[in-house]
């Protein structure tokens, strides 16, 4: 996914070798693991009201429309899915059954997946959740008004252009590939093997929707809760108040702690203000935290060096990938692309973003945090010369088709990107490259660079894995070339396509991951379609009376599951 609109910055991050974070351990849990209740954080207290402050309201509440991490995170409070991630210990997670009794059973070499629903799982009105609801949930995702959510399962069940195969259940037709032998069992039959399907079902987008209460478009405004809370009030773009869902039973839920009685969500604050408020820790703000308001670079020094904040600090590297894509249609000479990679002022950009504690300098396309079996490589000497190797770049350019190329660099015009642009221009020009900088309107930035026929040579874009595997990164960012598609490099190589297809269908999850890692290096070596950008390290704060706050390393957001309020 592309993550929520970033706050205070537009660049996102991956871990640095220097930082003392280890990548999260993620494994598949057993049926035993899938039993509720959730593992309690230390010193947990139940009850009270917790406040969450953030900048933007969630655009969607209908699970089928949820793709962005902030919405997914909020979804944890009101939606449940077949599977989910259970926090076992700090940095350790298990994929477990959420509504399902376990993380699913694959058969037929990974082509068939079946799940059994737990007893006692109910909707907010007390009616039990059935397999029909699950089937309906997936079926309705084919409907035309569903535009935002994930599409993996749909495509696997039908074809790449899944909407062409099935128009959704509202016309009365159902989808044969999903079977519900009884009220508790649901079986998915995929066209090809997908060893990681249980990870896919953990996406918030596959949170379930009651067949009886489906209001189609309107559901996006008033969803029915299957999770621990119900929405008591919602003022668009401003606030939420959540109250307990009396029909949610902690015993069925291994994931959600749901400790506070009331949740208050407040929107409209910039991250700078949120940080200042949390640093001040005054009055009601002591019970406050933020899902996603990263400490902006301007406050990092203060937040990181103030010892009194240590207990309220949360730090986690970004699980996303940030790339400066070359437009391969325009920058055709690989030497030039590599020269730019060598000249890239990673260190300078890092400093602008707030220093090594604010941004890591990854060297690989795949992100260390979200790739099981991650292995590092450094093709452009970034570890040795993070500030860029101008000499090497000049050498490469000298041997290229154009020793003094002109590069049109488009960027999202935010204050931070403006400053980063200054550094990039400065560095590349030292290497003899003329840089034409093109500030782009924030709201149309992705539209503009998403056009296949654009007039730019280099531009930034981010992508994050949907689960801890290269299969949700490389096939996406080097996927189909189309307007609006995330293949911003326009890399269209049949051999590569075939190779990716082959890896994706490998039945062994670990082998698959190792293959993705090798492909990562190969792409950078032979094609160099992008510059791997700095990855930010999130630092966030919470109020002194908030307990259990922790950044979910996969979603890169403070998880609500462990939050509690100290009296």
């Amino acid at each position: 996914n592309q993550g929520a609109p970033p706050q205070g910055t537009s660049s996102q991050a991956a871990p640095s070798a220097a930082a003392s974070y280890s990548a999260p351990k993620i494994s598949v849990g057993t049926a035993e693991d899938s039993r509720g209740p959730a593992i309690e954080p230390e010193g947990v207290v139940r009850g009270g009201t917790v406040t969450m402050i953030d900048r933007d309201d969630f655009s969607h509440l209908d699970p089928a429309q949820i793709y962005v991490n902030t919405e997914a995170n909020f979804g944890l409070l009101i939606h449940r899915g077949l599977t989910g991630y259970k926090r076992v210990a700090k940095g350790e997670y298990k994929l477990v059954g959420d509504l399902a009794t376990d993380a699913g059973t694959a058969s037929d070499g990974g082509k068939t997946w079946s799940f059994t629903l737990k007893d006692g799982v109910k909707w907010q009105d007390g009616t039990p959740i059935t397999s029909a609801d699950v089937k309906w949930t997936i079926e309705r995702m084919f409907a035309p008004f569903i535009t935002q959510g994930p599409t993996y399962i749909q495509q696997w069940l039908t074809q790449e252009d899944h909407r062409a195969a099935y128009e959704g259940p509202y016309g009365g037709k159902d989808l044969d590939a999903i079977e519900t032998p009884d009220d508790k069992t649901v079986v998915f039959r995929f066209k090809a093997p997908h060893a990681d399907a249980n990870y896919a079902f953990a996406m918030a987008g596959y949170g379930i929707v009651p067949k009886a209460k489906d209001t189609r478009e309107q559901y996006d405004k008033q969803p029915v809760s299957s999770g621990p809370y119900i929405i008591k009030s919602h003022v668009v773009d401003k606030s939420y108040e959540l109250a307990r869902n009396p029909h949610w039973d902690a015993a069925t839920d291994p994931i959600r702690g749901a400790y506070p009685d009331v949740w208050k969500l407040e929107f409209g604050q910039e991250s700078l203000q949120i940080t200042d408020r949390l640093v001040a820790d005054a009055g009601a703000d002591q019970q406050a935290f933020t899902f996603y308001a990263l400490t902006p670079p301007e406050r990092l020094q203060q937040v990181l060096s103030d010892q009194s904040l240590a207990s309220r600090r949360m730090i986690s590297p970004s699980p996303y990938g940030n790339y400066y894509y070359f437009n391969l249609d325009r920058v055709k000479d690989i030497k030039i692309r590599q020269a730019i990679n060598h000249a890239w002022p990673s260190k300078q950009i890092q400093q602008i973003a707030g220093g090594p504690q604010a941004a890591a300098l990854p060297t690989t396309i795949l992100n260390e945090n979200t790739t099981i079996g991650y292995e590092s490589y450094d093709l452009f000497g970034k570890t040795a010369k993070p500030e860029g190797d101008i000499e090497k770049a000049k050498q490469l350019l000298a041997g290229s088709s154009d020793p003094t190329p002109t590069i049109v660099y488009a960027y999202n015009q935010t204050p931070l990107q403006e400053r980063i642009t200054v550094a990039i221009k400065n560095a590349l020009e030292k290497a003899g490259i003329t840089v034409v900088t093109k500030p782009m309107d924030r709201k149309t930035y992705y539209d503009s660079i998403g056009l296949v026929d654009n007039d730019f040579d280099l531009y930034w874009a981010g992508w994050g894995a949907d689960w801890a595997s290269g299969s949700t990164v490389l096939p996406v960012i080097f996927g189909p070339v189309a307007d609006g598609a995330p293949n911003y490099s326009h890399l269209d190589d049949p051999a590569l396509k075939a190779e990716m297809q082959k890896i994706a269908e490998m039945p062994d999850f670990d082998a698959q991951n190792a293959a993705w890692m090798r492909l990562d290096k190969k792409i950078q070596e032979t094609i160099t379609p992008l510059v791997v950008a700095e990855n930010r390290i999130a630092t966030m704060l919470h109020g002194s009376k908030v307990g259990g706050a922790e950044i979910d390393p996969q979603q890169w957001i403070v998880s609500p599951n462990t939050i509690f309020v100290k009296p």
Partner: protein, 326 residues
């Protein structure tokens, strides 16, 4: 008076329609396609067409404008989204809510911010202005004029940022700015808005002090003020009943403008203090190409100014019986 009211209402309506039309057509020139934004990441052409139809974007611009205008009075039906009842300012696909609801939600914030600040800067500005005029040339006058000059030169984001830092985060003297509905908790309401009020007042007071001072100085030398003194009226009465009366006209003139602008949205103030009023709503609407919301905020902003102007004109007649309302 009634005639005036009717005539001004007509004029106001005409002005608002013109401003709405200008906004509507101008923002239509924007390159970002609202349907595309509403449609989402993966947007096949047929889906786009559907969104277009639902939002009425497939109509000619003129027809869309008329539909929008008619919606205000008659309500409007959005296929797939439901009916939007009578004062329908459109349906925001960004907020996924009828715009009118959102506006009504933000308006109390903006009004509280505006009215509270206005009360402070008006009373304080006029009072210091009067004192400065009466103490013309004395230290108090000098202090007032220097203070007002500085007040007029500083920026809300400068004062606001520093005030937040020193008074709220560091000093912990004031609660962090927030909006609590007046009806819910009057004290909390005042406490939450105190800082924005004061900061706005710092900047606006200056103008009133200066204006009051200079007109007051002029008015104090008016013949009728001299007459009042010659009648043996106490100095207080002379100043407050006679001299001040004439000073009110220029004051309410700028007051009307200020109030109108503030109701339209104190964008920077709201941003600085994280208040959710019309100002930020409008900026957000621009940022997301949310045309219906934008139109509505423009309408409110322009409406506030135009209405305040009409009110000011009516007040002229109340203050000065020579003014005839036509």
């Amino acid at each position: 008076m009634l005639r005036f009211a009717v005539r001004r209402t007509i004029a106001t309506a005409v002005t608002l329609v013109i401003i709405s039309a200008v906004t509507f057509f101008l923002f239509f020139a924007l390159p970002s396609d609202p349907a595309l934004l509403a449609c989402g990441k993966v947007c096949p052409p047929e889906l786009l067409a559907l969104v277009r139809r639902n939002l009425g974007l497939d109509q000619p611009v003129m027809a869309q404008f008329v539909a929008w205008l008619a919606g205000i009075f008659a309500g409007r039906d959005y296929p797939g989204l439901g009916y939007c009842p009578a004062p329908c300012l459109g349906y925001s696909f960004v907020n996924r809510a009828p715009v009118f609801e959102t506006i009504m939600d933000r308006l109390p914030v903006t009004l509280s911010l505006t009215v509270g600040a206005a009360v402070i800067f008006l009373t304080f500005g006029v009072a210091t202005g009067i004192l400065a005029a009466l103490r013309q040339g004395r230290p108090l006058d000098k202090i007032a004029s220097v203070a007002s000059l500085i007040g007029a030169s500083v920026q809300i984001y400068f004062v606001g940022t520093l005030a937040l830092y020193f008074l709220v985060y560091q000093g912990k003297l004031l609660p962090s700015p927030s909006y609590v509905p007046l009806t819910e908790n009057p004290l909390g309401w005042a406490a939450g808005l105190l800082l924005p009020w004061v900061v706005l007042a710092i900047i606006f007071t200056a103008n009133y002090t200066r204006m009051t001072r200079s007109t007051m100085v002029e008015n104090l030398s008016e013949d009728y003020v001299r007459t009042a003194r010659a009648k043996g009226l106490p100095a207080r009465t002379v100043v407050l009943r006679f001299a001040l009366r004439g000073t009110l006209i220029p004051i309410i003139t700028i007051f009307g403008v200020d109030l109108g602008t503030l109701i339209g949205g104190a964008i920077i103030t709201e941003t600085t203090f994280g208040l959710q009023g019309l100002g930020r709503l409008s900026v957000r609407a621009v940022t997301y190409s949310d045309l219906p919301t934008l139109m509505a905020t423009v309408l409110v902003a322009a409406g506030a100014i135009v209405v305040m102007n009409a009110v000011v004109d009516a007040l002229y007649a109340v203050i000065d019986p020579r003014v005839r309302l036509t």
